[in-house]
């Protein structure tokens, strides 16, 4: 087997974090941190090597145990998955170092806080599983792993509001998974396969497919906190430990979005209509405006950031109507804008992941320094903690979509796709979103520039915490630099760049 060394990478991407997650359980708190950190570094290394291999070979396929579908299970590391894995690794490693420093320096944490490490590594394995699986049941397992470890992380702080929010999150996660699983069962009953590639060839229009589509879409939307199923996110993400908020907001919601995008593009084309895309797009536009408006009206920094997630995720939904062809549009014509729409989806995902995790990490710094995250905690931040203020500024600018940030590039592509496809009505929503985002970002910055009162506490903060926040903020800017290379890598393989043609099968090769 000459191809053994490279085709093993997809399996390692899941196996390595699981191994370390199990390993950390055998240590007490201090050792758990070191082994957890080692696991993060190892997983990041594996991710880097796997991405390098995928770039070299244009994608990797791994058959677990050597069995081929429909009997065996297939892991597919295609360019789209590689980019998502890279995003997870970069965010993950920065948050890991932050968490190590955070958990060590805080002495008012509950005793179970070191469980962060096994839970986080399990979460990482689950996310990688979501990106790699090419099979509906495997995806379900990955979703469950992610959901359970995310709920575990959410209640780590042990405070009553976190427990309440965590319970609510658990209910949504379970309901979402069940809804998804029901859809899987319907499809399996109808077509006898769970493999995405085989399924995309087999699906036929009809009530069963439509019902499965609706169930799975709703389940995934709830898990991604897409409007109007977003209600659980702000309280949950607003009350967790900072590294956990960062991971959940940046990565976990993106996992279910990724699956939704894949399923719509690869499997459900037969049952989709132009109107369905418009409906999802309206949800997105409403999320952008509602979420930003809510963020503007929050008093606590972490709640502002959490509501902002609802809005920023809305931009992702606005990609769907641009991917679905209107009746009578030729695929060749549409390639003008579908490629832009896919680019928008990927870049919005990346820039939001980095910017949002940076903001939550910076909020953690502020909570340590001031003891709380009410408006007063931000006063005079520019003078007291210039590095954190700078991180918030950069990340906020990227969220707003001002040039030359990653968020700007995403919005450029989204607007371009909207105008080129003739669906100019999305432009006002994008515009209003930027405007409102600028509103809450500069509300934060305005406080940061205002002179503080002398009784604001300013406790020392480990330098590493501030650096991690700044690193991610810088990343949300610099992802624009390799954009040319990233996009040509993505374009080398379907479904990236292809249109969803209503009534026709998926786009898998």
């Amino acid at each position: 087997m000459t191809d053994f060394p490279t085709s093993i990478w997809p399996a390692l991407l899941v196996a390595v974090p699981i191994t370390f997650a199990l390993g950390t359980v055998f240590f007490a708190a201090a050792g758990r941190m070191w082994s957890g950190l080692a696991g993060s570094v190892a997983t990041t290394l594996v991710s880097a090597l796997a991405i390098a291999a995928a770039v070299r070979e244009g994608g990797l396929i791994h058959h677990l145990g050597g069995w081929e579908p429909p009997l065996g299970i297939l892991l597919r590391l295609d360019p789209l998955a590689a980019v998502f894995i890279g995003m997870t690794a970069l965010t993950g490693i920065a948050v890991s170092f932050y968490a190590a420093s955070y958990l060590r320096s805080q002495d008012d944490l509950p005793r179970g806080a070191s469980l962060f490490w096994p839970l986080w590594l399990m979460l990482w394995a689950g996310l990688n599983g979501m990106f790699l699986s090419n099979d509906l049941f495997n995806l379900f397992v990955a979703i469950e792993v992610v959901g359970i470890s995310a709920v575990g992380l959410a209640v780590l702080s042990g405070k009553p509001p976190a427990l309440m929010a965590g319970l609510r999150y658990l209910l949504v996660a379970i309901t979402g998974s069940m809804s998804y699983l029901f859809g899987v069962a319907l499809l399996f009953g109808a077509y006898g396969t769970l493999d995405l590639t085989l399924l995309s060839a087999a699906v036929e229009p009809g009530a069963t497919t439509v019902f499965a589509l609706v169930l799975m879409t709703l389940g995934l939307m709830a898990k991604s906190a897409f409007f109007p199923l977003h209600f659980w996110l702000p309280p949950a993400h607003g009350s967790e430990l900072p590294p956990v908020s960062a991971l959940l907001s940046a990565l976990v919601v993106k996992g279910s979005f990724y699956i939704l995008l894949r399923l719509w593009a690869e499997v459900f084309g037969v049952s989709l209509t132009f109107a369905a895309g418009q409906l999802i797009g309206v949800c997105g536009a409403a999320a952008v405006i509602w979420g930003s408006w809510q963020a503007l009206n929050q008093d606590r920094l972490k709640l502002i950031i959490a509501h902002s997630s609802v809005a920023q995720l809305g931009y992702l939904l606005m990609v769907f109507p641009l991917l679905i062809l209107a009746p009578g549009t030729a695929v060749a014509v549409a390639s003008d804008w579908t490629s832009s729409a896919w680019t928008a989806a990927v870049y919005q995902t990346l820039s939001h992941a980095f910017a949002k995790s940076s903001l939550f990490l910076a909020a953690g710094v502020i909570v340590i320094a001031a003891g709380h995250d009410c408006r007063e905690s931000l006063l005079d931040l520019v003078a007291r903690r210039p590095m954190t203020a700078f991180a918030i500024g950069l990340a906020g600018i990227s969220l707003t979509g001002l040039p030359p940030s990653g968020g700007f590039f995403a919005k450029w592509m989204l607007l371009k796709a909207a105008i080129a496809s003739g669906q100019w009505w999305w432009a006002p929503a994008v515009l209003a979103g930027s405007f409102l985002t600028a509103g809450y970002v500069f509300m934060i910055l305005r406080l940061a520039f205002a002179p503080g009162n002398s009784d604001t506490e300013n406790r020392p903060v480990p330098r590493g915490l501030e650096s991690a926040a700044l690193l991610l903020a810088v990343a949300s800017f610099f992802i624009i630099v390799p954009a040319e290379a990233v996009i040509s890598f993505l374009e080398s393989s379907a479904p990236f760049g292809s249109a969803i043609v209503p009534g026709e099968g998926g786009v898998l090769p």
């Binding site: 520019v382 030359p404 105008i419 624009i480 040319e484």
Partner: protein, 499 residues
């Protein structure tokens, strides 16, 4: 690429890099910071002069860098861009000197000078942008770089002004963003000067191109403070005096006015724009803004507020000149970019000197100030005469060309607007001049708050105001000289109307 090809980039770097280093310095490293500031400013002037000489010798400059798909970062050198870059570079040097004197001993100077340098980087970037996308990037960067300067003092008033400033500029920026993307979808990357690209697309997309024109106009119109988008300008005069000078003369409003010039002359082309009657609404709005700004200025007792409304009015001279087709009008509009800059900066420097030295902020406090600060008030008087349009100060030249152009284009109503405006200018500036020189000081004894005993104020504050007043006089007296702003403006304008 030879070294010369890198010059446009070096012009940007000459303020970007000092700015970045200043952020990293400690607050108390005053000497090093001052050296960096002045060194960068001098370097920028030298570099612009070098590019200018090379350009005159027939050298072409093109620095293109593909930042991302669709987004090509492009710096080009043309006469109009150089004109604006020269204005920014020279006035920045003067303002830097002034700011160093003004902020002596004030807190947070590191932050101030850092963003100050970013601000001028953005405005020279706007000047040298080769295409619409690059222009947009620097235009937004300018918003971000000026916000911290507006709120610099951190008082409630400053912070509120910053909020108003942002709502306007971010709103304008968003509208401009949509329009720039729309233009890109229809016409691809539009380079300034390639007016035939748009002209070729006109047939098929007439409505769309009209909509895009007005969206872009609204986008740049915010910074150019055209009514009803001017609301931020009078509010943000709470910023420190050097910032006001920068905002009102060099960077922000000029970026907007320059944007209008670029949009009409170098994106759509003046012929196409006037044949589609895109310019009439602009002319009407500009004329209204001129009168409106002047009338509002009449009723302000706060010196800086009066100056701010005057800026609203004076800026629209540029827009009005652009909106009236013809070589003479265009000359008037382009030359007023510079003339308004040097005159208005003089007035803000003078107002800053009075506020710093005696703590006066109201027109009604100025009785007899001319005797205490003869140099400052003499400079102010020169600039005020220029604003009114009295020869031989620069403002006269602008108004003269704008009027000639209006007659040429068969729009005598423009001349009426100019005359009325001149009358109003006189009505709100002459009282200040009168009080300063001819009224007896009020009874109460006043004391100097700062400055040496043998000089009316600190030398760093006095030199800039005298220099820019000198510029205002020289630009008027030597208007016909081969290297005057007028000559350049005329050359640029003539090239626009070549067959």
């Amino acid at each position: 690429m030879t070294l010369q090809q890198w010059l446009p980039l070096l012009i940007l770097i000459s303020s970007l890099v000092p700015g970045c280093i200043i952020f990293l310095l400690r607050e108390e490293q005053v000497a090093l910071r001052t050296v960096l500031n002045l060194g960068g400013a001098v370097a920028k002037v030298v570099l612009v002069a070098w590019v200018f000489l090379a350009y005159r010798a027939g050298e072409t400059f093109a620095f293109d860098f593909a930042l991302a798909p669709d987004l090509t970062f492009s710096l080009r050198v043309d006469q109009l861009g150089l004109f604006f870059a020269g204005l920014s570079a020279v006035l920045w040097l003067v303002t830097t000197v002034y700011a160093i004197g003004y902020l002596e001993g004030a807190p947070h100077r590191r932050r101030f000078f850092g963003f100050f340098s970013m601000c001028v980087t953005a405005s020279t970037g706007i000047a040298l942008s080769g295409n619409v996308v690059t222009f947009f990037v620097f235009y937004e960067f300018l918003t971000l770089a000026t916000y911290p300067l507006v709120v610099h003092r951190g008082t409630e008033k400053a912070v509120n002004a910053g909020r108003t400033y942002l709502w306007y500029t971010i709103g304008g920026g968003s509208v401009l963003f949509v329009a720039v993307v729309g233009l890109f979808v229809i016409a691809g990357p539009v380079y300034f000067g390639d007016t035939h690209v748009i002209a070729g697309l006109m047939e098929e997309n007439r409505t769309m191109m009209t909509v895009l024109f007005f969206l872009m106009l609204a986008g740049v119109g915010v910074k150019a403070a055209i009514f009803p988008l001017h609301g931020w300008l009078p509010v943000s005069m709470v910023a420190p005096a050097p910032v006001s000078a920068l905002l009102h003369a060099v960077a922000v409003v000029k970026a907007g006015a320059f944007g209008i010039v670029r949009l009409v002359y170098d994106v759509y082309g003046v012929e196409l724009a006037s044949s589609m009657s895109l310019l009439t609404p602009l002319a009407v709005l500009a004329a209204f803004t001129i009168i409106y700004g002047s009338v509002r200025a009449l009723f302000q007792d706060d010196i800086k507020k009066r100056l701010a409304f005057s800026t609203v009015s004076q800026l629209s001279y540029i827009a009005l000149g652009v909106a009236v087709p013809g070589v003479l009008s265009s000359t008037g509009a382009i030359v007023h970019l510079v003339h308004q800059g040097i005159m208005k900066i003089t007035m803000f420097f003078a107002a800053g000197n009075i506020a710093e030295t005696y703590g006066f902020h109201k027109v009604s406090q100025l009785n007899g100030i001319g005797r205490r600060m003869p140099w400052t008030m003499a400079s102010f008087t020169v600039a005020a005469f220029g604003m009114i349009g009295l020869p031989p100060v620069a403002g006269f030249v602008s108004k003269w060309y704008l009027s000639l152009g209006a007659f040429d284009a068969g729009s005598p109503w423009v001349v009426v607007v100019l005359l009325v405006s001149s009358g109003l200018n006189a009505a709100y500036f002459l009282p200040i001049v009168y009080r300063a020189w001819f009224c007896e000081p009020d009874g109460a004894e006043v004391h100097k708050l700062c400055g040496p005993a043998n000089l009316e104020t600190r030398a760093f504050l006095l030199a800039p105001v005298v220099i820019t007043a000198g510029f205002s006089l020289a630009a008027g007296i030597f208007a016909a000289a081969p290297n005057s702003p007028l000559t350049f403006a005329r050359q640029i304008a003539e090239r626009l109307y070549l067959p």
